[in-house]
């Protein structure tokens, strides 16, 4: 397939359709809006349905209903809209339904919402955070594979840059292996059989002898399924120049691309710095971070928020090296998280400062930094 110049929103829409998505519902909100626009245009052409829902709550409700029929479905929003969806997302997870959810985020303040789960009850979502458009095309398709395999929603964490940056990509259907047959899916056909299907977050079996649901038994089964998923899904991360790194920076999403440029520039100046970019935010690639920081004298974390992923990095490093937070909420007047901090020279200075304050042998002034 010939590569085509596409902004991330369109590439992600194409990738969803390539992965088999046939139902999409959303409510416009920048930078999610463009994904919805592309789905509205592309999905009917392949026999799918795209709903311009009346609210985010209805968008996730519609996606819930479609998912329950075994139709590969997705919804999404920005973090604010996802806040509205959390009650449903929690129960969809406890109903063990597959669903792909996009968070085209403003800045990176939704890390906790994504990785801890913004809703009630005991559940986890797999969270994938692409670093650029080409990776988003892969991860969006992986998300559909994982959600079908584990019957658990998968969140794809994008951002404003990913949505609006055009990159030359070829969207081809990727084969991640067979997906299990959706024997649980509803189509009405088991009605009147004496064993009509039930899809519920309260329990998976029909009442026969006694009343109601055994919630503790059902929730225990859900927790066991969640643990199986966490144990089986391989955490992913990109490691750049970490083998001999004395200072390792951890960053995710588009900001990691800027950090990578800063690391490359510092390497050119002779500084032993490296980058770990978590690709799965949950499960967090703790082992990869642990290995990559094994020889590091210091670890730095850049996020465009007040410090959220830094907690996971500290858990992975477990006190073997100081972990410095070098990010911070950086917003311009647009409100979309177009961070003034995403400036390679600014990031170089911050990384160099960590190196300088950790070990006096590292030069405190780096040529070219400000």
């Amino acid at each position: 397939m010939t590569p085509r110049l596409m902004e991330g929103s369109e590439a992600m829409a194409e990738a969803m359709i390539a992965a088999g998505c046939r139902f999409f519902a959303g409510y416009p909100m920048t930078p999610f809006t463009e994904v919805l626009e592309h789905m509205a245009r592309k999905l009917p052409a392949v026999g799918g349905v795209c709903m311009n829902a009346e609210s985010e709550i209805e968008a996730v409700g519609m996606a819930w209903g479609a998912a329950a029929t075994g139709t590969p479905a997705a919804t999404g929003s920005t973090g604010q809209g996802l806040s509205l969806m959390q009650e449903s997302l929690a129960e969809i997870t406890l109903a063990r339904l597959p669903l792909v959810v996009l968070n085209m985020a403003r800045a990176q303040g939704d890390y906790f919402q994504a990785t801890r789960g913004g809703g009630h009850g005991d559940y986890r979502h797999l969270v994938l955070a692409p670093g650029d458009v080409a990776e988003a095309v892969e991860l969006v398709q992986l998300a559909f594979h994982l959600t079908a395999t584990w019957r658990n929603p998968v969140l794809v964490m994008g951002d404003y840059y990913l949505a609006h940056t055009a990159q030359s990509v070829a969207v081809e259907a990727l084969d991640f292996g067979p997906r299990p047959e959706a024997t649980w899916a509803l189509d009405g056909s088991t009605g009147g059989s004496g064993h009509a299907k039930l899809v519920s977050f309260l329990g998976s079996v029909k009442q026969r002898d006694d009343v109601g649901y055994d919630l503790s038994e059902y929730y225990a089964a859900c927790a066991a399924a969640t643990q199986s998923m966490i144990g089986a899904v391989a955490p992913l991360a990109e490691c750049f120049c970490t083998d001999d790194a004395e200072v390792v920076v951890v960053a995710f999403g588009t900001p990691a691309t800027y950090v990578k440029a800063a690391v490359r520039a510092l390497r050119a100046d002779g500084m032993a710095v490296g980058l770990v970019r978590p690709v799965t935010l949950f499960p967090f690639p703790s082992d990869i971070v642990t290995a990559a920081t094994h020889n590091a004298r210091a670890v730095a974390v850049y996020e465009n928020n007040q410090g959220q992923m830094v907690d996971d990095v500290r858990l992975a490093v477990l006190g073997r090296a100081p972990v410095h937070f070098i990010g911070g909420l950086s917003l311009d007047s647009s409100g979309f998280g177009i961070a003034p901090d995403l400036d390679v020279s600014v990031l170089r200075r911050r990384i160099a400062h960590v190196a300088a304050t950790t070990d006096a042998t590292v030069p405190s002034a780096v040529p070219g930094s400000r």
Binding site: S55, E58, M62, T69, L186, G191, G192, L198, K206
Partner: protein, 280 residues
């Protein structure tokens, strides 16, 4: 021997002597599409009667093998794992959007929702309004007893003026609490709504009439001419704080006096004529 007696004008079941014989199951009236006939809802509750009418309508139209019921959260949720039709459990207030997703993904199915007045009119009012306005080919059923029965008798958006609840202790007051929403009347104004009716289950005649409404609502959906809605007034003696036997009369005198029963809209059939059985 009389089983009941009157004490201070109240009808009570006599318990001053043992029954002469143990209880015997004479017949099981459980309809085919309900798995277990026994339920654990309160004595005098109208919801099992309404559920029965819905399931009988599905059976009579011979669509059980393509029907999906979407349940809200309330006392009636006890039936969500007790039916022999496929069931999808939704959140409180959210059944209409979930039903929309089911129907759009599988247009060949027959989709109904079961919600209470608290679920549909309080928590999720915009859902049912938008679903009706879209002309979604689903059938929404609202079991309206004018209280949050499951929480123990609290005021809902359909509680009638003067009705005493745990959160309107001296009766619903228009200044303090606002006025009730007459949902069927509201939905009937929307162009996307093709069938709108309000029935009740407080006597045999009303049960039969309500079932005819449910049949016509499902026929409307199957004909794909738009949104269909049946509001069913149900008894809740526990939430109304009255004797079980008084509940049917209380429904007629209070709820039905405000939420008038009748067919408000029927695009498939002829418009309801005032003064007739189906008309207002």
């Amino acid at each position: 021997m009389t089983r009941t007696t009157r004490v201070d004008g109240q009808i009570v079941v006599r318990t001053d002597h043992a029954p002469t014989q143990p209880a015997q199951l004479v017949d099981d009236f459980t309809p085919a599409l309900i798995d277990v006939g026994a339920h654990h809802l309160c004595p005098g509750c109208g919801e099992p009667i309404a559920m029965r009418a819905v399931l009988e309508a599905v059976a009579e139209l011979d669509v059980a093998r393509r029907t999906i019921g979407v349940f809200g959260i309330g006392c009636y949720t006890a039936f969500s794992n007790n039916l022999d039709v496929e069931v999808l459990q939704a959140l409180h207030g959210r059944a209409p959007s979930v039903a929309t997703g089911v129907k759009r993904a599988r247009p060949d199915t027959v989709v109904f929702t079961i919600q209470g007045d608290g679920d549909m009119v309080n928590e999720g009012l915009q859902e049912v309004i938008h679903t009706a306005a879209r002309g979604e080919n689903v059938t929404c059923v609202m079991l309206n007893n004018g209280v949050f029965g499951e929480t123990g008798g609290h005021m809902t958006a359909t509680t009638v003026l003067g009705q005493r609840t745990k959160t309107s202790l001296e009766g619903r007051d228009p200044v303090a609490h606002g006025r009730p929403i007459l949902l069927a009347s509201l939905l009937a104004q929307l162009d996307g709504a093709a069938y709108v009716a309000r029935g009740a289950v407080n006597n045999a005649g009303n049960v039969a009439r309500t079932k005819r409404m449910l049949l016509q609502a499902l026929r409307t959906q199957i004909a794909a001419v738009g949104f269909s809605f049946v509001e069913i007034l149900t008894m809740c003696p526990t939430g109304w704080f009255i004797e079980t036997q008084e509940a049917p009369g209380y429904l007629a005198d209070n709820l039905a006096a405000v939420h008038s029963a009748g067919v408000l809209k029927d695009v498939l059939g002829s418009p309801p004529q005032p003064g007739t059985e189906e008309g207002l």
